[in-house]
């Protein structure tokens, strides 16, 4: 008989056995619960209720023990061992976690790279995906003819994107040499010169961004530039708290800042404890001064040697950590005390200004830092590998023959994946649509009477009203970004595998290809903790999103 038929029959018998097992098991669980209830002195009717309730919920209850609780506990145990399938188990304590979280050795570096990639999907992919979903939802919500058809078409990619077939079609279309997308883009660029210019700018922008990101993931030091983004974020928060109007919202934002920064601090200290780092970061010993805000790292200009630039910065630079402390203190003041309006504006105006100075100073000094790298490399007579890919890409604007190397270059592999996720963002669209239905018509009418324009209505009414849906989509999107697997599995090749690998893909390769169960389990628990943190954050902060 055909082996497939044999396997199906085998499975069929097992299925019957499983059904029998569940029926008998459910009956026994029901009887057991009934017995317990009886021992506690429950009446006949109550005992009957207990029996039926527990018996009928047992299919899930039994599966919960066999497939969730048991495995979860086992995997926690494995994560502290060096278990490899078919070998004996040895307890190695926190070793796996040290390797992965500390980025030690080849595997640790791969894990860190996978986390960076997931971070990329979350940072770049999720906003693009949500933007697409929102745009589609707003369009389809218009009361015009034919919208159900468009809704159908926009949602269709979702049911296909989970399977390999359409991913393969994308892979074929995105072939860099002679693939449909590149050939038609090229043709367009030749036909319409302005489009050609736009097209090359697009190539330039994507390549520079990705080259920079690759530089960061290779842990090339960025020097003072690392303060720019947090500083800008600080400016934003301060502006919101200084000029934001609603008192309740303000307090919530301030409390959120305190809590989130506190949580980050706990996580960072926890990771440091596991990887054996010092509990007190060095930066605490070298808090910067006010003048450091403008010239972040005066020592940068003085330092000539390459070694100093590579490692010395983190060792010797003054850190503006006190500014963060100031922000937390100010937020605590606003969040937990009643502070006057004037005082609050001065306070956050001042702190925001300091953050602005930090951003400016860090940018200027960042440029100096990179120049120092060049000078030091030249003096040492070696090539400067510091962000070499980035500088190579930025050095010249693409000429007319350049095409995006979608799936064959690490500069384009992640953008390709993001493109495919944008294509399948219809699930988010449906959630936005459901939320849009909930916005009362009378609000728009009242706004029209007041003479509001369409855009004003969108930003002042629609967006705040659907913010819960937005938040739901963001959290779901972030979790999905961490768990990206199928698309990576299908579109990767040997050149792009490392630059595409998500956390889930790393876990798959480590566990099921290389059978390193112990390390795979540790990676899965790191991922699990991250996802639980995200979900908790959702429950914690989903309420204030609604502004009610």
């Amino acid at each position: 008989m055909d082996p497939a038929v044999v396997a199906r029959l085998h499975n069929f018998y097992w299925s019957l056995g499983t059904v029998a097992f569940i029926v008998v098991g459910s009956y026994l669980v029901g009887r057991l619960a009934q017995g317990v209830a009886g021992a506690r002195g429950a009446g006949v009717l109550q005992r009957r209720r207990v029996f039926w309730g527990y018996a009928l919920v047992s299919p899930w209850l039994i599966g919960f023990v066999i497939f969730v609780v048991g495995p979860a506990l086992l995997s926690l145990y494995y994560s502290f061992t060096d278990y490899k399938l078919g070998r004996s188990i040895e307890w190695i304590g926190l070793e796996n976690y040290k390797t992965l979280l500390g980025g030690l050795g080849a595997q640790g570096r791969r894990f860190m790279q996978a986390m960076y990639n997931s971070f990329y999907y979350a940072l770049v992919g999720v906003p693009l995906q949500i933007g697409t979903a929102l745009a589609m939802a707003v369009m389809v919500a218009q009361p015009l003819r034919g919208m159900p058809f468009f809704r159908l078409v926009f949602y269709m990619p979702v049911i296909l994107a989970g399977g390999p077939a359409i991913l393969l079609a994308w892979r074929y279309m995105l072939a860099s040499n002679g693939g449909f997308i590149n050939v038609s883009l090229q043709r367009f660029a030749e036909l319409i010169p302005p489009f050609g210019w736009l097209y090359r700018s697009f190539i330039f922008a994507v390549e520079s961004f990705n080259a920079f990101f690759i530089g960061v993931t290779r842990s090339d030091p960025v020097g003072p530039l690392m303060y720019v983004l947090p500083a800008l974020l600080g400016v934003l928060v301060c502006a919101a708290l200084a000029f934001g109007s609603a008192e309740a919202t303000r307090r919530q934002v301030a409390r959120t800042v305190v809590e989130v920064l506190g949580a980050i601090l706990v996580v960072v200290l926890g990771v440091r404890a596991i990887t054996g780092g010092s509990f007190v970061p060095h930066v605490l010993e070298r808090l910067g001064t006010f003048t450091d805000l403008l010239t972040q790292r005066t020592s940068v200009r003085e330092a000539g040697s390459l070694d100093y630039l590579r490692t010395g910065f983190a060792e010797h630079a003054a850190s503006p950590l006190w500014l963060l402390g100031l922000l937390v203190a100010a937020c605590a003041l606003v969040g937990y005390t009643r502070l006057g309006d004037g005082g609050r504006k001065w306070l956050f105006g001042g702190v925001g200004l300091l953050f602005g100075l930090l951003a400016l100073g860090s940018t200027v000094d960042g440029v100096r830092y990179f120049q120092a790298f060049d000078a030091a490399s030249a003096a040492a007579g070696t090539a400067n590998h510091h962000f070499s890919l980035f500088r190579q890409v930025v050095a010249q604007f693409p000429d007319a023959n350049r095409v995006p190397l979608w799936l064959s270059s690490e500069l384009w592999s992640k953008p390709s994946l993001v493109l495919i996720t944008m294509w399948s963002s219809g699930a988010g669209m449906l959630i936005f649509l459901a939320a849009l239905k909930g916005v009362p018509r009378s609000m728009y009418e009242a706004a029209s009477v007041d003479g509001a324009t369409g855009w004003q209505k969108f930003f002042r009414i629609t967006l705040p009203m659907i913010s819960p849906a937005m938040f739901y989509n963001v959290v779901i999107g972030l979790i999905a970004a961490l768990q990206t697997f199928e698309s990576v599995y299908i579109i990767q090749n040997t050149q792009t595998e490392q630059s595409l690998a998500s956390a889930a893909y790393f876990l798959f390769v480590r566990t099921f290809r290389q059978l390193e169960i112990g390390q795979g389990a540790a990676a899965s628990w790191i991922l699990a903790v991250l996802i639980v943190l995200l979900t908790v954050a959702q429950f914690r902060y989903s309420r204030w999103v609604h502004y009610e």
Binding site: D2, A4, A7, R8, N11, S15, T18, R49, V50, W52, G53, L56, P59, W60, L61, G63, F67, V68, P71, A72, L74, S75, Y78, M136, M139, A141, Q142, P143, L144, R145, G146, M147, F150, R151, L152, V153, M156, P157, I159, L160, G163, P164, A165, A169, Y172, M173, F180, S184, W423, L430, I431, A434, L436, Y444, P468, I490, F512, A528, V532, T535
Partner: protein, 312 residues
């Protein structure tokens, strides 16, 4: 056309009309840029929509077009969607392959077993959570919702070890059997929410007639819950038909491959030029059931997502 009556009740005109889909009732239609009534704006709007449609539909069309090309056509630089002469023989060749038949059969078999097992156990469990009163129900329910937080990755590894120890690698058991244990807390939740909306009196009158809970479920709740069960079924079908991870981990033998792996491994052939027409032929045959089911049951998708999503 009950949707139209919703509009006339003065409810949410915009969304109700979007729901009714071009239902008559011209005078109630309003667009937010309507002031001045610009026909050009509407035309432009449709142009954007149609462009978006092309973006979303193109990969599917491309798949279909490629599946009818010759090997020479697929190895050239690509600019035309359709072949010069459609090669229907690609399909006859694909349908003549033994492993393709096996994979298709395996997919249909596993999907059927998973649907049967999961839907029946889900219904029973959702019934216990919604229509029965028993001490400890809220605790167990909270426990179940808690599993929504636990990512699949946390249990993937030891489950593999469990099935390895049971000797179930290279069998269908790891793919089909977990479903029998009401797999998927979100689907239980969806069904329970629906069953809660059914009137209480139904159970009471049945209880007076001396029916036990199983009879109540079978005779009263099940027939009334059909729409929700259909929603759950189509979700499960699409998820299972596309399921790549579990089969990839456990099947490991060409005769046992389900369609997702069969299609995926066609891509790994070290052939040059890559036989894209062949890969796409298999892909089209793989995608057809999902597309057909989706088009026939699309309203269950939209309703189901609204049910789960709006609770966030």
């Amino acid at each position: 056309m009950s949707d139209v009556s919703v509009v006339s009740k003065g409810g949410n005109a915009a969304t109700a009309a979007a729901h009714a889909g071009g239902a008559p009732g011209q005078e109630r239609r309003r667009v937010f840029w309507r002031r001045g009534g610009k026909a050009t704006a509407v035309t432009l709007f449709y142009a954007v929509l149609i462009a978006a449609c092309i973006f979303f539909l193109f990969p599917v069309a491309w798949m279909g077009g490629t599946s009818l090309k010759t090997i020479d056509e697929v190895s050239q630089a690509q600019l035309s969607l359709f072949p010069e002469t459609p090669q229907w023989s690609n399909y006859t060749k694909q349908l003549g392959e033994r492993n393709f038949y096996r994979a298709y059969g395996n997919s249909i078999y596993t999907v059927l077993v998973v649907l049967l097992g999961t839907v029946s156990s889900l219904t029973v469990v959702a019934f216990a959570f919604s229509r029965l009163q028993w001490p400890g129900r809220n605790v167990v329910f909270a426990l179940m919702l808690g599993t929504l937080m636990l990512p699949a990755q946390a249990t993937l590894v030891p489950q593999y070890v469990l099935f390895y120890e049971l000797g179930w690698l290279r069998t269908f058991n790891p793919i089909t059997l977990p479903g029998f244990f009401a797999g998927g807390a979100s689907l239980v939740f969806l069904l329970r929410q629906f069953m809660l909306t059914l009137p209480r009196e139904l159970d009471e009158s049945a209880a007076i007639d001396g029916a036990n809970p199983l009879q109540m479920l079978w005779l009263i709740i099940l027939p009334l819950s059909r729409p929700a069960i259909a929603t759950v079924t189509v979700f499960l079908f699409v998820g299972q038909w596309n399921n790549l991870v579990q089969p990839l981990l456990y099947l490991q033998k060409a005769e046992l491959f389900t369609m997702p792996i069969y299609v995926a491994q066609k891509n790994n052939l070290q052939e040059s030029p890559i036989p894209w027409h062949d890969i796409m032929t298999a892909s089209v045959l793989f995608v057809i059931p999902v597309l057909v089911i989706f088009i026939l049951t699309q309203r269950y998708f939209t309703e189901g997502i609204a049910l789960t999503g709006s609770k966030g």
